[in-house]
Subunit: 321 residues, 2 copies
């Protein structure tokens, strides 16, 4: 078993226990929704990053589990709102919260979780942690607005795409690592290294996620081609376009921007995208970000946590779902 | 002109200038929505309360305008989300943000405002202020979930109703006053008095709002009977039920819980509700809370701010829209 999986299995019990304690302390009206989104399975990578980063820099105070729970609250808030925004009926194989409880309660429970995250972070009595978390919350939501603003806009270039995924995904993962180092009262250089590690890891995580969009449903458990259906622009689209003669490109882009693909068109496109190697090319870019993350990791003290974080990079690179 | 209106006119310019500065500092994707919700008119009572409370306890630092702007950000976030939750197409006479920008952007921009509020509050470097604001954000959202949970539930008694309005409305007004006193580094007793003043004022504000629900549209600019249509339980419903013979009550409650009223039924019901004096009775209860607020105000130092706050109580009591 991977080092990181072994640590995840051991730590996840403590993280889940902390999460349950925090859910029980919420306003009663928000508890069922918080339980639904936070106990639905999922890998809980973000809170694990907080715990491992804090421990890596020498902090073993149990408060790190509460802070890790706070990070997962923030992540849960974004998931509750995302599922309403995307109209997603399924989350991790189960009906999404807004399907079960209604969109209104899902929106409001997300707000409760966001506020509760801040209340948990306040226990650290560290302004740096509060700055990091509120900045991450802002970036995440703003990144999603930018993504919506660019739906079906093939003019979005790689720099624009990178900015969107940095904001909507990587910033929160950066924050999870940064606050661990802050709670451990690591040096400013070490805190920067933790933040840099998280940011690069987060970018790679989303790149691999976007590469997995065209993987067969049997492999990922999610319908294949979701981004293509929703009109989300990822590099896969540009890589695929490069393989086409110009005339074909024009027709494809016309259909894409008009959301005019039929199911059989999509199947054929997905088949061609898989065959042209664009997912592998995107994973290659992810690999470059993981190499940058590894360079930041060199500033972490040696030990079990360092090794688990290093192993996590390999897991992200290879993940198939 | 009322003392408080005069102060509002003078201070609102400074509050609006601070708000605009904070909007300009937001992530670009959120600015149009923030501008839409925050510059749509409205009375900006909450930020004024922060400014007046801070000044009342001797703080004239310009930071109070930023904190006041932060309070309005939090209020704006709740309005953005509320309008999606209620499906409200109109806010203050203009199309609501989700109508103009779409529900997804409205939800996400609300999240950006909530996070930005925290970032503004961090400038105070006062944990008490951050605690107060995050608690208020949580209570507001939780109160709205409770309200949804009790739609068309005539079994909701006055205590349950009071808890809902305290959470969804009064807590944020309490917070606006409390953080003003905190920024002024008032004594713990004075901070408690400011919080108590805000809480009672906030409860009275919502009671009068609920009384105004049956006022003719020509007076308020809002369609009459909105709560009745949406199935929101307010004391007006119980006061009106008391005027009916038991058999009629049963038929009314059946139609109410089934949302079975036709437009002509509603007109007739609203006419009878206006005639039975239930709005006046609810204003009477609001008056009792305003008296409590006045008692808290006695702990404020004498001066222009005290007088304006006292005058505000009279304005809330008498307001017709």
């Amino acid at each position: 078993m991977r080092v990181f999986k072994k640590i995840l299995n051991a730590e996840d019990k403590k993280i889940l226990a902390a999460l349950r304690e925090e859910i029980a302390a919420l306003e009663p009206a928000a508890r069922p929704l918080a339980g639904h989104i936070l106990e639905a399975g999922g890998k809980r990578i973000r809170p694990l990053l907080t715990v491992l980063t804090a421990r890596s820099f020498g902090c073993h105070d149990p408060i790190i589990y509460a802070l890790a729970g706070g990070i997962e609250f923030l992540h849960g808030a974004t998931l509750l709102h995302d599922d309403v925004v995307d109209g997603a009926g399924i989350r991790r194989g189960s009906p999404s919260a807004h399907t079960v409880f209604g969109a209104s309660r899902a929106i409001l429970a997300g707000d409760v979780l966001l506020a509760a995250c801040m209340r948990i972070m306040l226990r650290s009595r560290k302004f740096g942690i509060l700055e990091s978390v509120s900045l991450a919350a802002s970036k995440t939501a703003a990144g999603e607005v930018e993504e919506i603003n660019n739906l079906r806009n093939p003019g979005l270039d790689y720099a624009g795409y990178l900015e969107i995924i940095t904001n909507k995904t990587a910033w929160l993962i950066r924050c999870a690592c940064e606050i661990g180092a802050m709670q451990a009262e690591a040096s400013p250089e070490q805190i920067d290294a933790a933040a840099g590690f998280g940011l690069e890891l987060g970018i790679a995580f989303q790149l691999v996620d976007d590469a997995l969009d065209i993987a067969p449903e049997g492999l990922t458990g999610k319908p294949s081609g979701g981004d293509l259906r929703e009109g989300k622009i990822t590099p896969l689209l540009h890589f695929y376009l490069e393989t086409m003669p110009p005339g074909e490109q024009t027709a494809f882009l016309h259909a894409f921007t008009q959301a005019a693909f039929k199911e059989e068109d999509l199947s054929a496109i997905l088949g061609r995208m898989r065959a042209c190697g664009c997912a592998e090319r995107l994973r290659g870019i992810a690999g470059a970000h993981l190499t940058k993350a590894e360079a930041f990791l060199a500033s972490f003290p040696p030990g079990e946590e360092h090794d688990a974080l290093l192993d996590l990079l390999g897991y992200i690179k290879d993940r198939e779902h």
